[in-house]
Symmetry: C2
Subunit: 214 residues, 2 copies
């Protein structure tokens, strides 16, 4: 009957802290994620919360990691069984819309990476570095899929993969803003129309997206 919990119980507690921490950070940012609030909300002591992470910065990094796992599970995993190239790319893009639109419980304040990226983009340190690293990984994956699509002839030869990924990112930043700030129900459809311009039947003939070899 000691207050000391088993390893498995401790792990579950840690998961609970992280899950709620991600929700808080989604709304108030990784700075707004305070140990005191977390403790109050979960009916724990501050020391009990902090003991699982050591420092606030470690907690922030853990929240980021947890959110990355959710993103991978929600956006990447469902598309993995699709054939590489345009089909998989389109599946990822559609799942990405779903991710931003529906995960209101896990991310009540919208995508945590968008929040964290803007919050830390002008600072330095481990959190900023972690955000940058994650964004780079996803860009690389998207760009690889674009290149496969080009090789398969599903996108026009000469397509600038980085340029396309850059514009895809802009489309999703716009979607997140539209959903969070204006709660606009038409935002998903606007995003799909933007995607059609980038990936759809209209795109292949578009010279601005191909490399400037002139």
């Amino acid at each position: 009957m000691s207050p000391r919990k088993s390893v498995a119980e401790a792990r579950r507690t840690r998961d609970r802290i992280l899950e709620h921490g991600i929700a808080i950070a989604s709304v108030d940012g990784l700075d707004g994620l305070t140990i005191g609030r977390l403790a109050t909300d979960l009916g724990m002591s501050k020391a009990g919360v902090l003991g699982h992470f050591g420092t606030k910065e470690a907690l922030q990094l853990a929240a980021l990691d947890g959110a990355a796992a959710i993103f991978s599970r929600t956006v990447w995993a469902p598309a993995e069984h699709r054939p590489p190239g345009l089909a998989r790319l389109r599946a990822v893009c559609e799942a990405w819309i779903t991710y931003l639109e529906t995960d209101r419980d896990t991310f009540p304040g919208g995508c945590l990476f968008t929040t964290a990226a803007v919050e830390f983009d002008a600072r330095s340190g481990p959190v900023r570095d972690a955000v940058g690293r994650l964004l780079r990984v996803w860009r690389r994956r998207l760009a690889a899929e674009v290149r496969t699509a080009v090789a398969e002839g599903e996108l026009p030869a000469g397509t600038d993969a980085e340029q396309l990924v850059y514009e895809l990112g802009g489309l999703y930043l716009a979607l997140n803003q539209e959903l969070q700030l204006f709660g606009a129900p038409g935002a998903a459809e606007r995003t799909r129309r933007g995607l059609d311009r980038l990936l759809g039947p209209g795109a292949p003939a578009d010279p601005a997206l191909t490399s400037r070899a002139s």
Copy 2:
């Protein structure tokens, strides 16, 4: 020889506070804009700083207003003498790039509206409302310019102005992220290529941007 300053002096002090406050908020957000830090940086007392605004929220709103004035002066004003329609729209877009790229002194952490929008988009209250109001005003102005361009035959008939403005916004969110997070020097050129796709010679034939009257 009283410590009481004249009205003009008080105004100048207020401007100094606001100028530095905008710089701080650009990096650390409108929540990170604390009265104590402002006072220390400016060699004043906290009460002296707060006296100009009353509450922190009023200070945040004043910083937002000040940033809006800078945005208008930098992005809109230089384009005002251009003929309405596509020419003015293009001038605004180019000035917008300059605004994000060069104003490192006034906005060391990037565009304050992008920061504030993401910071407050999941909350409620006067600050969030002010951010939303400003974004709506700029969108309306951009959309009006698009419609003029359509009426002049500079953009294809049937162009969905809101859709175009939505995608323009995404392009600039991407630019801000690219500059702040990765300091990418090629970001401006990527943005211009995106603009070419939306506004340039390649755009008129693009069916995805016109209304779906099917």
